[in-house]
């Protein structure tokens, strides 16, 4: 407990943008075959530092086979609402779930260069207290730390639907399930919310048998992955509306609400349209009567390709699907970044008008049957995937791995983990920084990035930027 609010808590997104720039990034390292324990890399992102672009510390876990994916903070700017009663928490711990093992690590990063394990919650405890498995997205909110899961109970995670559970934000004890009425929600992936307006939005990937051993082509072609988004009364813990994006819109993944809580809209990225292989972005918004609507506002076309250049999975299609696997919105709600992991492109869209995204920047890097190298000449395995934007919106970081078994299907010849950064122009535009290129230790791939002091997919704000 602090005597003053943590200096990295900001009342509004604009105040967060004006705060000092990040000097460190935290990036997850995963061992795709489970031969080594997963880890957390602390990366120097301060251009004035001698070790700029280097891994300056690693926390290696004591177990193997966790498969790190997403993670988040114990506390963020949402603490600045008197309603939460948590104004004096420290932003100090990273909550890292193992998506494969269901184990959860709490890492103390108060002294980032000496970051260490604070607590480990064993999978058995997660199963016993929640009936869920395969924990994924972390958000700090009114009732503590919210954790989305991808699996229900049982060995293959299909015994009951997956959902969200809540952890105590001080003791990190698992408190229990979030949902009181889940409606028709039976799959899960991401979630986020608008705190003052008291609603939450959640999305769907697929059930564990549909992803753990690789993408199941038959399931995809018969539209069996998730294609719905759910709207919840956050504090009532009740699903009040489900919108089906259309069953051909397979895998509705990241949910990115506008950061300014007075704006009642947000985005959702859809990996692939099974009718034409397009990737797409849906814009959802809340209407005056409190109900929600969603509309496809952006499509990205596949690229035709000769079968011999394609992995077996795609040869029949003679095309490279864009595979929109991650999106992220800058704190001023102006630019939406869209990772096209299949094409090997990072797109930047001006979404000042959320109903009409305009392409303003593009970087080519990696990609199926293209393998565009980094401007420094070094290779980039797979394609641009987990993307994170600096609070001031000037730098965009990303890594390259999607999920171990899927990497191997879409990029059978690639291996390695890289993290790169692109600079954003005054009025848009995106250019890779030649001097920032992190190569992770041999045998490791990299996934989500968190920036010191918060970033564009961690903090929820309780006050508008007016």
């Amino acid at each position: 407990m602090n005597l003053r609010p943590d200096p990295t808590f900001h009342a509004t997104p604009r105040l967060a943008m004006e705060a000092p720039a990040e000097t460190l990034a935290f990036t997850l390292m995963l061992s795709p075959d489970g031969s080594q324990p997963d880890g957390l890399a602390v990366v120097d992102v301060d251009p004035k530092s001698k070790s700029y672009g280097e891994i300056v510390h690693q926390v290696i876990m004591p177990n193997k086979g966790d498969e790190f994916h997403h993670f988040g903070w114990n506390a963020c700017s949402s603490s600045l609402s008197p309603l939460s009663g948590h104004a004096f928490l420290e932003r100090r711990y990273l909550i890292i779930p193992g998506i494969r093992s269901s184990r959860i690590y709490v890492i103390d990063v108060k002294d980032p260069l000496k970051a260490k394990i604070h607590k480990i919650i064993e999978p058995e405890e997660v199963f016993a207290k929640t009936g869920y498995s395969r924990p994924h997205t972390i958000h700090c909110g009114p009732e503590g730390i919210y954790v989305s899961t991808l699996g229900g109970g049982g060995a293959d995670g299909t015994d009951g639907p997956p959902g969200i559970f809540i952890m105590d934000c001080e003791t990190f004890d698992i408190l229990g399930r979030y949902e009181m009425d889940r409606g028709e929600q039976d799959k899960h992936y991401d979630f986020w919310w608008n705190l003052p307006r008291d609603y939450m939005v959640s999305s769907e990937w697929g059930l564990p048998p549909q992803f753990e051993n690789g993408i199941v082509a038959e399931d995809l072609l018969s539209n069996k992955y998730g294609h719905k988004i759910h709207f919840w009364k956050l504090r009532e813990r009740r699903n009040v509306q489900t919108i089906d994006l259309g069953e051909n819109h397979q895998m509705a993944l990241e949910i990115r609400p506008a950061h300014d809580p007075s704006k009642d809209y947000g985005f959702c990225g859809v990996v692939v349209d099974t009718t034409n292989l397009q990737g797409s972005i849906f814009t959802w918004w809340r209407k005056d009567d409190g109900t929600f609507e969603a509309k496809k506002t952006l499509t990205i076309d596949p690229r035709p390709e000769k079968p011999e250049n394609l992995p077996p999975l795609l040869q029949g299609f003679e095309a490279v699907p864009p595979l929109v696997t991650d999106i992220d919105l800058s704190l001023d709600d102006r630019f939406l970044y869209v990772a096209c992991w299949g094409l090997g492109e990072m797109h930047q869209y001006d979404v000042s008008d959320p109903m009409a995204p305009k392409l303003t920047g593009k970087v080519e890097l990696g990609g199926i049957a293209r393998n565009t190298p980094h401007p420094n000449g070094k290779p980039f395995a797979y394609g641009p995937q987990m993307v994170e934007i600096s609070r001031d919106g000037k730098r965009v970081y990303w890594t390259n791995s999607l999920y171990s078994t899927w990497d191997d299907q879409f990029y059978p010849d690639d291996e390695g983990g890289q993290m790169v950064m692109a600079n954003v122009g005054e009025n848009g535009g995106l250019e890779l920084d030649k001097d920032f290129y992190v190569s992770f230790p041999k045998g490791y791939r990299s996934h989500q990035i968190r920036l010191e002091g918060g970033d564009c997919s961690t903090d929820s704000f309780c006050y508008p930027s007016v």
């Binding site: 509004t12 600045l80 609402s81 009663g85 948590h86 004096f88």
Partner: protein, 219 residues
């Protein structure tokens, strides 16, 4: 200290504690700023403030009136004040040991600020803090009144309880409202994180302090 001075000091405490509660961001003024900014209308600030004040007032009433009823036992006044003092001290000590905020408060939706304010005032002992002060005021009046009839006493004590609750709430809403409006209009939300101090310890200690003073006054 004569009765008049004692009464003035106690009424001063009613106002001072109101200002203290009002200025503390934890009691809700930032929510009034948020409401005004969300709706882009200063009227929403006032509406939120009224809801917060109503909840606070109700909490005072709910806590003070049972003690008013107890005061019918005129010859037991001293014992009642002793018990109230011990209760306030006990809550203070409990809050010193258990520094965690009650989680049920975070289940209240932001649209129900009145309910939130009511529960927060109860849970943090804001209402209970007023009890020893109220009992003290009743005793000063008692000294003046001599041997009044029980019914008269009851009426008078009810009136005093209502006055204590209203004056305290006015002070709370006034001070909280001023800060909220200042932040909304001029200071900006940076003021929120700059000015918010962790008063948990001070708060618990002030409960103990009020209880101890009241205890000695009663002995």
């Amino acid at each position: 200290m004569d009765a008049a001075n004692g009464a003035a000091a106690l009424w001063g405490a009613v106002v001072a504690s109101g200002i203290y509660h009002g200025l503390n961001p934890g009691m809700g003024w930032p929510l009034a700023v948020s409401a005004a900014l969300m709706d882009r209308s200063p009227r929403s600030l006032l509406r939120a403030l009224l809801a917060l004040a109503a909840g606070h007032l109700l909490a005072m009433v709910v806590i003070l009136f049972p003690f008013t009823a107890l005061l019918v036992l005129a010859e037991r006044q001293r014992e009642i004040q002793l018990a109230a003092s011990v209760l306030v001290i006990a809550l203070g000590v409990y809050l010193l040991i258990n520094r965690r905020h009650p989680r049920f408060l975070s289940r209240v939706p932001p649209s129900r600020l009145g309910l939130w304010s009511f529960l927060a005032a109860l849970a943090h002992g804001a209402a209970l803090m007023l009890v020893p002060i109220y009992l003290g005021i009743c005793r000063t009046i008692e000294t003046d009144a001599g041997h009044a009839a029980a019914a008269d006493l009851m009426t008078r004590n009810t009136g005093v309880a209502a006055m204590v609750a209203v004056i305290h709430t006015l002070a709370m809403a006034g001070s909280g409202g001023l800060v909220a409006f200042g932040v909304y209009r001029w200071l900006g939300l940076k003021f929120l994180s700059k000015s918010w101090f962790n008063l948990d310890l001070v708060w618990a200690l002030s409960l103990v302090l009020v209880g101890v003073i009241s205890l000695f006054a009663a002995l």
